[in-house]
């Protein structure tokens, strides 16, 4: 009896300890997220509240000269820059990534497992500074020599991001395709479909939501990448007239300027507003991914 009681007490204590640890961690995480958001928002909003700059000017003006006596903080060139590099990069890496996913799962499993899969894992693990450096020393001179201009350009940014988002898109869509039940492939083959018909009419539609998730994840990665882009894009706060001209993105202007500004200045506040904008955009991406994931028929 007493032994039983003792054992029960010990078990209860352990249960309690476990609950406390898990609960505290969860609360801590939530506090962290909220305070982070609060901090960025309070800083970012002071551009509009304290410095009296209109939201319209910030989002739609193309003049960025925050160090003048009457500072102008039009962020449109950066917003467009981020959109251009990410969207064009995804337009290349999306089809490429999905095709390689199909290749490694449906067409050549052996090659996929032995070569492509490990290669992709390595690609994911390479730090972005390495991509940036490679872009800087290989891509930029190449573009300058063969297409004209300095080489530091929108095009260089797009190509670096294409390579950086490719592994994300490939591995996430490969997982989505791999998780489809073998039965629907068999059903298609048993009806006399060829492999290509099966891929085109059964596999891709069935994996659609997973593939979409992969593409949005790639887009989010491209949007958030700072260093590698900053190293090759040229960092000029203008809207370029061609792919070969330099420009800036939201992330690149933040990393370029953050060391040069004084806390509390309009310039500094405007950078925080850009950071807030980035945060909101990544929230949007997360929401899109969740919505797309929920719509998927196969989990």
């Amino acid at each position: 009896m007493t032994i039983d009681r003792k054992y029960e007490m010990a078990r209860k204590r352990q249960d309690m300890a476990g609950k406390v640890i898990v609960f505290t961690s969860a609360i801590l995480l939530i506090i962290l997220v909220i305070s982070l958001f609060y901090f960025v928002a309070s800083k970012g909003l002071s551009t509009f509240v304290k410095d009296r700059i209109s939201l319209k000017e910030f989002l739609l003006s193309t003049v960025w000269s925050p160090d003048r006596d009457i500072p102008a903080v039009g962020a449109l060139p950066f917003i467009l820059g981020s959109i251009f590099v990410s969207v064009f990069a995804i337009m290349i890496s999306g089809p490429l990534g999905v095709s390689s996913a199909i290749f490694m799962v449906e067409i050549s499993k052996k090659l996929g497992q032995k070569i492509l899969q490990p290669a992709i894992e390595i690609f994911v693990g390479i730090p972005s500074v390495v991509y940036g450096w490679l872009g800087l020393s290989v891509l930029v001179p190449f573009i300058g020599k063969h297409f004209g201009g300095l080489g530091f350009s929108l095009l260089a940014g797009i190509l670096v991001l294409t390579i950086m988002t490719l592994p994300t898109i490939t591995s996430v869509s490969a997982d989505a395709i791999r998780s489809l039940p073998i039965e629907i492939r068999e059903a298609s083959y048993a009806l006399g479909a060829t492999r290509w018909q099966t891929i085109r009419h059964v596999i891709i539609p069935a994996a659609k939501s997973g593939i979409l998730t992969a593409i949005v994840l790639g887009l989010a990665r491209a949007f958030g990448e700072a260093l590698a882009v900053q190293m090759v894009i040229g960092n000029r706060p203008v809207i370029p007239k061609s792919f070969l001209e330099p420009m800036s993105t939201i992330t690149s202007i933040i990393t370029m300027d953050m060391g040069n500004t004084v806390m509390g200045s309009v310039w500094n506040d405007a950078l925080w507003s850009l950071a807030l904008l980035l945060l909101l955009i990544s929230f949007t991406f997360i929401i899109i991914i969740r919505l797309v994931g929920r719509r998927g028929m196969y989990k």
Binding site: P181, A190, G192, A193, V202
Partner: protein
């Protein structure tokens, strides 16, 4: 008339022999039931008839399978073969698309684009699978919203839409409730007027109810094959008798 003739068929998964010297023939417009304990090679066997085993790596096949006298491994194109020999699987496996698109899938991949023709084929196939009345108002809803029994009949309709000559069924009712099972059994009874049917089943009563002929498989060999009544009530082999009377399996 013999629809399918199998002669001296051996099948290996790597080094493991799954089928040993199988000799069988199937009459046109009849139902052949394949019975036997799990892992005896029944499913492997029917998959040799439409060459689904081609999809599995390391499978080696010796012997001949004749469809209307033609060797399906040498003289018939695999796409053509699978059009002529349809298959219904153990687990209902509709595509994640609408009811209509599921049935129209086969005709479409075989090149039929005409909307009117497709509509006709879908309706005809769903009627033949005794599903039309239940789904005619939701042809454009997802097939995954149907019940298990309806999904399986949809898979049968999808198979019929390709206008096959032979239908292979691999334990088509094992995942279904008794009422759905009954509907499928009635369906098999009806379908045999037009098609030759081979059905794998674990359910002895089912074999007795639906089939004209029965083949008993054990460890990759056909132990006995003949008219169902004879195999059930007057088996020639002791092992068949033991299995049917429930002594093992």
């Amino acid at each position: 008339m013999k629809k399918i003739e199998v002669k001296d068929l051996d099948l290996f998964y790597g080094d493991v022999q799954a089928l040993k010297n199988v000799n069988l023939s199937v009459e046109a417009n009849s139902v052949l039931a394949l019975i036997g304990p799990s892992g005896c090679g029944k499913s492997t066997f029917i998959r040799t008839l439409n060459r689904m085993n081609d999809l599995i790596e390391g499978v080696k096949i010796n012997g001949t399978v004749l469809l209307d006298g033609q060797d399906v491994y040498k003289e018939v194109d695999v796409i053509e073969l699978r059009k002529r020999v349809g298959m219904v699987f153990q687990k209902p496996n509709p595509f994640p698309m609408t009811v209509y698109d599921n049935v129209a899938y086969g005709p479409r991949i075989h090149g039929i684009k005409d909307k009117k023709k497709l509509n006709e084929m879908v309706e005809k196939s769903l009627k033949a699978a005794a599903l039309w009345d239940e789904v005619k108002d939701r042809l454009h809803k997802s097939a995954l919203s149907l019940s298990g029994g309806q999904q399986q009949r949809l898979c049968i309709a999808r198979t019929l839409a390709v206008e096959p000559e032979v239908i292979l069924m691999d334990e088509p009712t094992s995942a279904l409730d008794p009422i759905s099972t009954m509907k499928i059994e009635e369906l098999i009874e009806e379908l045999k007027n037009k098609y030759t049917i081979i059905v794998v089943t674990h359910n002895m009563q089912q074999a007795g109810r639906v089939s004209d002929y029965t083949a008993f498989f054990l460890n990759g060999e056909v132990i006995e094959c003949g008219p169902t009544d004879q195999v059930f009530y007057n088996p020639k082999d002791k092992r068949t008798e033991d299995y049917i009377t429930g002594r093992f399996g």
